[in-house]
Amino acid sequence: MSEKAPDLTLQLQSKPKLLSSVRSMILSLTQRVGFDEIECGHIALAIDEALANVIRHGYEQRDDEPIHIGVWILNEDRPGIRIMIEDEADQIDPDSIKGRDLEDVKPGGLGVHIMKEIMDFCRFERRKQEKGMRVIMEKYINPEHVSGTKEPHSPQAT
């Protein structure tokens, strides 16, 4: 399965201090794409949470591992943005990555919940290589167009 190359790709080392630069980029890009201020902030937050999880869980805080980000500006029938984040960490069962019950107030366990709440589509999967996990997220400018199944806009990357 192949598809259009990303409009923008970003590789960074797994250093927490680089996250603010990625947020700024996503904020600016989502503004240009046409999301409103609140949505732009939300999307940047979702990406930040995904990257923080790669650093904390995937790479167990090692700060010199690669993170790959691909960004597509979706133009056709469903205007919006797709963001794919890939790591080279050990593979785990994607179904084990899930948000916890929010009723139980305790520190942590909010990241995945935030990502799923903010984005219209959010899926974790193993990369086709031996190593590495991937998360694909999409957010549409007119979410009323989104069908209940929350299927992605076009076939996933490989």
């Binding site: 927490p16 996250l19 947020r23």
Partner: protein, 115 residues
């Protein structure tokens, strides 16, 4: 390190409460420093702690987790714990995490005195 690596945090010990005022984004790179500061403040068992977030334009779940920890420390030591002056973006993450009703949140520092 470089100037912006660490969060700037002012801690002011007033007679009625201790006010913690972080300045800047609180994300994965800065939550650990923030956590240390909160723990230090609680180690002195103050009657009331207010975190003035007016200078925090952005917070992610690692910042929120630190504040949940603060609330737990507060519950344990009988300290009153109040969040003050959340900017819109920061308020929004508390709402998504359904924590906006769990924390005591006020708009201005003067209101924190009455909590």
């Amino acid at each position: 390190m470089t100037p912006n690596e660490e969060l700037t945090i002012n801690i002011e010990k007033r007679p009625e409460m201790t006010v913690i005022s972080p300045q800047g984004d609180i994300d994965l790179s800065r939550a650990p420093g923030f956590r240390t500061n909160i723990a230090e403040v609680f180690s002195e068992k103050p009657a009331k702690v207010a975190v003035d977030l007016s200078g925090v334009p952005y917070m992610d779940s690692s910042g929120v987790a630190t504040l949940v920890e603060g609330m737990q420390l507060a519950n344990r030591s009988g300290t009153v714990f109040v969040l003050v002056a959340l900017q819109e973006r920061v308020k929004s993450i508390f709402e998504i995490a359904r924590l906006d009703t769990v924390f005591k949140i006020v708009d201005e520092l003067t209101q924190a005195e009455e909590v």
